[in-house]
C-alpha cells in the first residue's frame, strides 16, 4: 500500500464556468437568426502522473449550453491523452490540441486541429484531435511526428446562429474527396529550432484539409444550403520569429496543394512595444501584419490582401488588465472589421471579459458579406475553480 501510494500521485483538478452575454446592434439579416443571447460554458480539467513523473495523463472537457443555437449547444473532448517521457523523447497517445505558428491575424501553419467555429469566427477555438505523437529533442532541433487517425468536421452554427454563413451549412450532407471519408489517416511533421533570437518551424502535413469548400446546393428537404466538401491536401509551412532590438518580426508562409488548386499564402508583420508609456506602468505594443494569398479571387480565404493594425495594452496592474484593439482592412475590397478585446481579473476567482466586433464597408462579394449586420458586444464573466 505504501509503495503504491508513493507511485501514484494525486489527481490535479481545475475548472472554469463562464456566462457569456452577446448583444447585437442591429436586427439579424436572416429572420431565423437569434438576436441577444445568453449562454454558459464549462471547462473542467483533470491530470495526474505516476512513476517518477515519466508517465502522465490529461483530460480536458469543454461544454456549452446554448438555448437558441442548437449547434452551439455542444461538448468536446479537448484533451484525453497518455504521455510517456523517455530521456530526450516524448510519446503521446490520445486526443490533444496543438498550436503552431506565430502571427496574430490568422494561423496558416496551424492545420492539425479542426476549428470549433461555433465558438468564434476568429479560429482560436479548436476541437480535440486524436493523435499518436512522437517528439524528440536534439541540439540541432526538435522533431515532431504525428499520426492523425479520425478526422473532425468543422462545426457550423445552426440556422438560428449568429453570426453565420448566408445559408445553413448542412453538415449531414458532408462530402469527402477520399473514399475513406472521416477514417482517412493523416500525417504531420514539424521541425523547430531556436538560434539565438530566431525561432523557426518547418511543417509538413498530408491528409484531409481541415478547411472545407462550401458549395450551394439543395438538400433532401428541398432547402437551399451549403454543403461542406473536405478535399485532400499536402501543405508545407514555415514559421519564423526574430527579435531585433525592440522589434519582433514574424512570418508564416505556406504552400498548399489540393486537387482544386495549388497556391501560396503568407502573413508577415511585426510588433513594437512602447514600454511604460509616459512613465506609467502601461506597456503599449503596436502590431502590424499583412496577409497575402495568391489564389484567383473566387477561391481566396478571408485574409487575402488584408492589413491588420493593432495595439496591445498591458496595464501591468494587480488585476492584469489588458486590451487588444485591432482593425483588419481588406486593401482590395475595402471591407473593415474592428475588434476590441479586454479582460480584467475581478478577484482571486473571477475574471471579466469584454469584446466588441464591428463589420463595416463590407462588399457584397466579400466572404464576410453575411456578417454585415452582426456588430456585437460580448460580456463574459468567468469563475475559476
Amino acid at each position: 500500500m505504501v509503495a503504491y501510494s508513493g507511485l501514484v500521485s494525486g489527481v490535479d483538478f481545475s475548472a472554469n464556468v463562464a456566462a457569456e452575454a452577446k448583444f447585437f446592434s442591429q436586427s439579424a439579416s436572416g429572420s431565423d437568426q437569434l438576436n441577444d443571447n445568453l449562454t454558459v460554458s464549462l471547462e473542467p480539467q483533470w491530470s495526474g502522473d505516476w512513476g517518477d513523473g515519466d508517465d502522465s495523463w490529461s483530460t480536458k472537457l469543454f461544454l456549452r449550453a446554448d438555448n437558441k443555437d442548437s449547434e452551439r449547444n455542444h461538448f468536446d473532448l479537448r484533451e484525453f491523452y497518455w504521455l510517456h517521457l523517455n530521456g530526450d523523447s516524448e510519446f503521446r497517445l490520445g486526443i490533444n490540441t496543438l498550436f503552431w505558428g506565430v502571427t496574430e491575424s490568422q494561423h496558416l501553419v496551424d492545420v492539425v486541429n479542426q476549428i470549433d467555429q461555433v465558438e468564434g469566427i476568429d479560429g482560436e477555438d479548436k476541437l480535440g484531435q486524436p493523435m499518436i505523437q512522437f517528439k524528440h529533442y536534439e541540439d540541432w532541433g526538435v522533431v515532431d511526428l504525428l499520426l492523425l487517425p479520425g478526422f473532425r468536421e468543422r462545426t457550423f452554427q445552426s440556422i438560428n446562429g449568429r453570426p453565420r454563413t448566408p445559408l445553413l451549412v448542412d453538415t449531414n450532407a458532408v462530402q469527402y474527396q477520399s473514399s475513406e471519408g472521416q477514417s482517412h489517416i493523416d500525417y504531420a511533421f514539424r521541425y523547430s529550432q531556436t538560434i539565438d533570437e530566431l525561432d523557426l518551424g518547418l511543417t509538413w502535413f498530408k491528409g484531409t484539409n481541415r478547411e472545407p469548400i462550401l458549395s450551394s446546393a439543395v438538400n433532401s428537404n428541398g432547402q437551399a444550403v451549403l454543403i461542406p466538401t473536405y478535399n485532400q491536401m499536402t501543405q508545407l509551412g514555415l514559421d519564423l520569429q526574430v527579435i531585433i532590438e525592440d522589434w519582433t518580426w514574424k512570418l508564416e508562409l505556406i504552400h498548399r496543394e489540393t486537387n482544386a488548386d495549388s497556391f501560396e499564402a503568407s502573413t508577415v508583420g511585426f510588433e513594437y512595444t512602447f514600454y511604460r508609456l509616459l512613465n506609467s506602468d502601461i506597456d503599449v505594443g503596436t502590431l502590424v501584419e499583412y496577409s497575402y494569398d495568391n489564389r484567383s479571387l473566387s477561391k481566396r480565404g478571408v485574409f487575402d490582401r488584408d492589413l491588420l493594425l493593432g495595439a496591445r495594452l498591458a496595464f501591468n496592474d494587480s488585476q492584469s488588465t489588458n486590451m487588444l484593439i485591432g482593425i483588419v482592412i481588406d486593401t482590395e475590397k475595402r471591407s473593415q472589421t474592428f475588434k476590441i478585446e479586454g479582460n480584467r481579473r475581478l478577484n482571486d476567482n473571477w475574471k471579466g471579459t469584454i469584446e466588441v466586433q464591428t463589420f463595416s464597408k463590407i462588399d457584397g462579394n466579400d466572404v464576410l458579406a453575411s456578417f454585415s449586420r452582426d456588430d456585437y458586444l460580448l460580456l463574459e464573466l468567468t469563475r475559476y475553480f
Binding site: 490535479d12 481545475s14 472554469n16 491530470s47 502522473d49 513523473g53 502522465s56 504521455l83 517521457l85 530521456g87 530526450d88 516524448e90 490540441t97 496543438l98 498550436f99 482560436e124 517528439k135 529533442y137 526538435v142 523547430s192 531556436t194 533570437e197 525561432d199 520569429q241 527579435i243 532590438e245 525592440d246 522589434w247 519582433t248 510588433e271 512595444t273 514600454y275 511604460r276 506602468d281 506597456d283 498591458a314 501591468n316 496592474d317 494587480s318 488585476q319 492584469s320 481579473r345 478577484n347 482571486d348 476567482n349 475574471k351 468567468t382 475559476y384 475553480f385
Partner: protein, 271 residues
C-alpha cells in the same frame, strides 16, 4: 591582480620584470579605489554562492495596496546554475486561478538580453517574448522583472561606500549602477553582510534619481551548508505606497535538474 600576473607570465616576460611590476602594484592594491572594492565585494558574493547546481522553491507573492487590500500569487520556481552565463529559471503559476498553468522560462545572460518564453495554457501556445525592457512590474507587484532575474556581477558598475551595522550583522554598503540597457533605475544602494554576503537591503532610485523602492530580506536560512536564502522579502514602493511580500518555502537544492527541464518546447507538458 592575479590575472594580470598570469597574463604577464604567458607573455614570457622575465621573472624579475614581473617581480618589479608586482612590487609596484602593491601600494596600489592598498589604496584600492571605491570602484575596485565594490567590484571585489560583488565578485566575492558571487563566488560565495557558486556551486548551488540547482534549486526548487515555492514562492507566495502577496500584493498590498496603500489601502491595505491584498491579493496573492503562488508560483513554483526552478533554477539551474549555468557556468559562465546567467542561470536558467522556470516559474510555474498556481494562483490566481485564471493564470494557473502559465509558465515562464528565462535564460538569463549578463549584459546580453535574456531569452524568455511564456506558455499560455488556454491556447496551448509557447510564445517567445522580447525581454529587452525589464523595468515593468512583475504580475502587478512592486517587483520589476529586472529585480527578480539572476544578479550577474557584470550587470552593474560598483562603488563601495562604507561599512555599517545592519541589524545583527555588519554590512558593506555598495552603490551599483545598471550596466545593462533599459533599466528603470539610475542606481541601487545595496547592504551586503560582511560574513556571508547576504543581500540584506537594496534601495532603488528611479530615472529621476529619487528613491523609488526599498527591498528588505530577512529570516535567512542556510541550505546544504553553504547557500543562504531569505524566507521573507518585502519590497515597498515609496512613491505609490504599494508593497509586495515574498514568502519563500520548501527550498530544495541539488535536486538533479538538467537542461532537459528548461526547454521551451517542454513548457507544453508542464504540470
Amino acid at each position: 591582480m592575479l590575472n594580470f600576473k598570469a597574463d604577464l607570465k604567458v607573455m614570457g616576460l622575465p621573472f624579475t620584470l614581473v617581480a618589479l611590476i608586482t612590487l609596484s602594484l602593491v601600494p596600489l592594491a592598498q589604496a584600492q579605489t571605491p570602484a575596485e572594492k565594490g567590484l571585489e565585494i560583488a565578485n566575492a558574493a558571487q563566488a560565495f554562492d557558486e556551486g548551488f547546481t540547482d534549486f526548487t522553491a515555492d514562492m507566495n507573492m502577496i500584493l498590498k495596496t496603500q489601502k491595505g487590500d491584498t491579493s496573492t500569487r503562488m508560483i513554483r520556481i526552478k533554477t539551474l546554475e549555468v557556468e559562465n552565463d546567467g542561470d536558467k529559471s522556470l516559474s510555474i503559476f498556481d494562483e490566481p486561478a485564471d493564470v494557473k498553468g502559465t509558465a515562464m522560462l528565462t535564460y538569463t545572460h549578463g549584459l546580453e538580453p535574456d531569452d524568455q518564453w511564456l506558455f499560455l495554457p488556454a491556447l496551448k501556445k509557447v510564445k517567445r517574448i522580447n525581454s529587452r525592457n525589464k523595468s515593468g512590474p512583475f504580475m502587478g507587484s512592486t517587483f520589476a522583472f529586472e529585480d527578480l532575474g539572476s544578479q550577474e556581477v557584470e550587470k552593474y558598475r560598483y562603488q563601495y561606500l562604507t561599512e555599517e551595522t545592519c541589524g545583527d550583522w555588519n554590512c558593506y554598503v555598495v552603490e551599483r549602477k545598471p550596466a545593462y540597457k533599459k533599466s528603470g533605475y539610475t542606481k541601487q544602494i545595496a547592504w551586503i553582510d560582511t560574513e556571508a554576503y547576504r543581500l540584506v537591503k537594496i534601495e532603488f532610485y528611479d530615472r529621476k534619481k529619487s528613491l523609488l523602492k526599498t527591498l528588505e530580506s530577512s529570516e535567512f536560512k542556510i541550505y546544504v551548508g553553504k547557500h543562504w536564502r531569505p524566507a521573507v522579502m518585502n519590497m515597498v514602493n515609496h512613491q505609490n505606497g504599494k508593497s509586495t511580500l515574498l514568502e519563500w518555502s520548501n527550498y530544495q537544492f541539488k535536486t538533479g535538474l538538467s537542461d532537459r527541464d528548461f526547454r521551451a518546447e517542454s513548457l507544453k507538458r508542464l504540470k
